[in-house]
């Protein structure tokens, strides 16, 4: 028993020590309520000085009770500086809390900045360890700040509408291009593929955000804007995304196809390791979503044909448009590079050949039904 009493002494001392020490918490301990979450960063060209940047930080403010709060609480910090790092350092002095970039999921860049010096400011995002590489990148029109400042009415207390546009967690539409920061950077830096970012616009009354266009970005070149239709085909080809509205017309028949699955294969045909043509196979499975006539199940094969033809035309249109502008959002060049043995001239050879490369597309649409009960 004596032995046990002795160890009690030790325990009592340790307990007193810890209870004293625990009250003496210093200021090094930063709790979650001493941090403020930056959920979006906007980058605009500076209005005052040439070559500078205007940074907009969108801060999500925590709400004490979600049930009683009506809408989201945001605060915006804006500063113009020569570099991003500088501006953000200064912005740290504009708030009483620690800026926490761990939840920065949205990087919005002014459309006008996506021509030159992209590397310059992207470098900052990639280097900061707390901005995660899974952040979404988007181009903004007319300015990043104005886009960040849009607060749609449908937005709920603790959520960020802009983030839900991208990826598959929120809306899931083939018109929306989603690009992660790492994807953007990788595609921009590699030869043979051009990065594509979504273009975010606001409605005229500044109450809604609209994301259905995309920009193909190439360094030192004016970005190519893809309209909604082209964005859709881009997403279909690259991501196999499928959605409602693939229109097919023949004579007086109008069909809107609802695709469920899309499979795309493409090949660069080479002769003597020189690219001669691009061969693309598209296979789609879906149902007819809307039609202006009564359809019969017997004629399904016929509708398949009509649909295939229509989709094929659209895809060729899209591919030749970007090809004409000498952009390669699909990454044909990258595929070519991966197919041939490396030598110094690989990429220059490809660049020479690409603008005139013939593209063969074969589309096979398989309709599962007419979409109606007979």
């Amino acid at each position: 028993m004596k032995r046990r009493f002795k160890s009690f002494k030790v325990i009592v001392v340790v307990a007193i020590y810890f209870s004293c020490v625990s009250i003496l918490a210093g200021c090094g301990f930063k709790d979650i309520d001493k941090r403020v979450f930056v959920t979006g960063i906007g980058v605009d060209p500076s209005e005052k000085e040439k070559g500078g940047y205007k940074i907009t930080l969108k801060l999500s403010l925590p709400v004490a009770s979600i049930k009683s709060s009506t809408g989201p609480n945001y605060e915006y910090l804006v500063y113009e500086g020569e570099t991003l790092a500088e501006a953000i350092r200064i912005l740290e002095t504009h708030t009483d809390k620690v800026l926490e970039f761990g939840h920065t999921k949205m990087i919005v860049i002014n459309e006008g900045l996506l021509q030159e010096n992209i590397k310059d400011f992207m470098d900052y995002f990639v280097r900061r360890s707390d901005i995660q590489l899974i952040a979404w990148v988007a181009a903004a029109k007319p300015s990043a700040e104005s886009i960040l400042r849009v607060e749609p009415a449908a937005e709920s207390a603790v959520s960020s509408t802009l983030i839900n546009f991208f990826g598959t967690s929120g809306t899931d539409s083939p018109f929306i291009t989603s690009t992660f920061l790492y994807e953007f950077r990788r595609n921009m830096l590699s030869d043979g593929i051009d990065a594509v970012v979504p273009l975010v616009e606001a409605s005229e009354d500044r109450k809604e955000l609209i994301v259905n266009k995309s920009l193909v970005v190439k360094e030192e070149t004016k970005p190519l804007e893809l309209d909604a239709e082209e964005s859709k085909y881009y997403n279909t080809i690259v991501n196999g995304m499928s959605g409602f509205s693939y229109k097919a017309e023949s004579d007086d028949l109008k069909l809107i196809l609802n695709m469920e699955r899309t499979k795309i294969h493409y090949k660069i045909i080479m002769v003597d390791e020189k690219p001669t043509s691009i061969n693309m196979n598209v296979k789609m499975v879906g149902v007819i979503g809307q039609s202006n006539k009564n359809l019969s199940l017997k004629d399904l094969k016929e509708y398949d044909q009509i649909a295939s033809k229509a989709v094929k035309k659209k895809i060729i249109d899209f591919l030749t448009t970007v090809q004409k502008e000498n952009f390669d959002p699909i990454g044909f060049g990258l595929r070519y590079r991966s197919m041939v043995l490396y030598n110094k001239n690989t990429i220059s050879e490809w660049r020479k050949a690409y603008p005139d490369l013939p593209i063969d597309v074969s589309v096979d649409v398989e309709l599962k039904g007419t979409g109606a009960i007979e």
Binding site: M1, R3, S7, F18, S22, I23, A25, F29, K30, D31, I32, D33, R35, F37, T39, S60, L61, P62, V63, A64, S65, I66, E100, G102, H103, K105, D130, Q132, V158, S159, S160, I163
Partner: protein
């Protein structure tokens, strides 16, 4: 009384013994006398069973034809004890034996009275379908229960006597066929090496058998369930019982033994699997959740989803102390509540839980002393710590989470991971009577037992 001959003199040994035991009031030295012949009884009145003494010892004396007959009658009693040495006699008397002197011969017969032999209901490890009776506080009754449940001739029971002041019997029970001789040897050695002055319960015995001064995790399992005892006997383990304690000790044990409830054997496969998974989930929850809260809210809030981070931040608005004090404060109150409801009489403990749990909890959040989420975490931790079937392990895990909390408070998420690794390494390094504590038994239960069929 007049026709009585003069009182015969008791043998010298008896009067000496009486002298030695006096002045206790209950030492009795009574002569039995029938005509010429006499016998003497020496016993402690408070230790023996009066009825038994009357029927077994005194009555036959007057019914026998001669002293010779009586002597052989006494000699053939099933309760007779061998007199090893004269020094041992007083000890036997205090245990409830009676010393009989017949014709210059001495006999020691066990007529002890036991008031603790009622079998109790299972309290600590209740099951829905399993046996409802636990053990009693009398070792003979307990051994009887075990014999009754495990009718194998290979079941061996060895009795040792403690060297302390209680002189309690200790039983070592094992199945000769399945037990590992090395473990048996270690246990015998440790039991013989015990030198503490007073050991009164199985829990205390367990402390001394541990072999180490400071222990956090139990290396022997304390159980009150006869079915668990038999289950473990079958698995080749050694059971140690001490007189006066309604619990048995099982050695050696591994960590995973503490996560098994006997109920598992009585349910369907998928239900058992589900509850087992649930139990391990509870174990992990109650171990890491408080530390995880500190790690995430104070060091790496980016692990959360954005919505959750904002909610947590929102619920902490106005909370004056940093997260670890908040956690510590709530955990300590929860421990107090648990401790209070254990110690209080059953009738009051329900009130304590209501007042403490419900009122204190909601008032603490109203007063912005803690966040809502903290209350959820503390309740989750409290509930999940009760999921661990063996109470001792539950206590150990409850202690461990403070270690983890301390590490996390000082070193953040890295500290949390290191602390967890440390606990893991500690457990892996641990041994229970030569068996690795955290050994993963990937083998089937059947091959572990070394028998072909269940």
């Amino acid at each position: 009384m007049t026709n009585l001959k003069e009182k015969p003199n008791p043998p010298k040994l008896m009067s000496e013994l009486k002298e030695q035991l006096s002045p206790s009031f209950d030492v009795l030295l009574i002569p039995l006398q029938l005509e010429e012949e006499a016998a003497f009884l020496l016993y402690l009145k408070t230790a023996v069973d009066g009825d038994k003494l009357q029927n077994m010892i005194i009555k036959p004396f007057f019914e026998m034809k001669s002293m010779q007959h009586y002597a052989s009658y006494v000699q053939s009693s099933p309760d007779i004890l061998e007199i090893k040495s004269e020094e041992k006699i007083p000890l036997e008397l205090t245990k409830g034996s009676v010393l009989i002197a017949v014709q210059h011969q001495f006999f020691l017969i066990d007529v002890k009275k036991v008031n603790t032999s009622t079998v109790q209901q299972t309290l600590m490890e209740p099951t829905v379908y399993g046996p409802q009776q636990a053990l009693s506080e009398d070792i003979l009754t307990n051994l009887n229960i075990i014999r009754h449940r495990y009718k194998e001739p290979t079941l061996k029971i060895e009795i040792l006597e403690l060297k302390d002041k209680t002189h309690n019997d200790i039983a070592i029970i094992y199945d000769d066929q399945t037990v590992k001789p090395a473990i048996l040897k270690t246990i015998r050695k440790r039991l013989e090496g015990l030198d503490s002055p007073l050991i009164q319960s199985a829990g205390e015995l367990q402390l001394y058998l541990n072999g180490k001064k400071f222990t956090l995790f139990p290396t022997l399992m304390l159980t009150e369930r006869p079915d668990r005892i038999c289950y473990n006997l079958d698995a080749g383990k050694v059971i140690i019982m001490i007189d006066g304690s309604p619990h048995a000790l099982i050695a050696p044990v591994v960590f995973f033994d503490f996560m098994v409830s006997m109920e598992d054997n009585y349910h369907l496969f998928w239900i058992t699997s589900f509850t087992l998974v649930l139990r391990y989930f509870g174990l992990i929850t109650c171990l890491i959740l408080p530390a995880l809260y500190v790690a995430i809210t104070s060091y790496n809030p980016d692990i959360f989803r954005t919505e959750l981070a904002l909610t947590v931040a929102g619920s902490r608005i106005g909370v004056p102390y940093p997260s670890f004090i908040e956690v510590l404060f709530m955990l300590i109150f929860m421990e107090l509540l648990t401790e209070a409801s254990i110690r209080l009489p059953k009738a009051i403990s329900a009130t304590a839980t209501t007042v403490g749990g419900l009122i204190l909890g909601s008032a603490a959040t109203e007063a912005a002393l803690t966040s809502n989420i903290m209350i959820i975490i503390v309740s989750a931790v409290a509930i999940s710590s009760f999921v661990i079937p063996i109470n001792e392990m539950s206590f150990s895990i409850r202690f461990c989470r403070y270690i983890l909390l301390a590490f996390t408070t000082f070193f953040g998420t890295v500290g949390f991971i290191l602390g967890f690794l440390g606990i893991l390494m500690f457990l892996i390094n641990k041994e229970s009577f030569g068996e690795p504590y955290l050994k993963m038994y990937w083998k089937s239960r059947r091959s572990e037992k070394g028998v072909k069929s269940e």
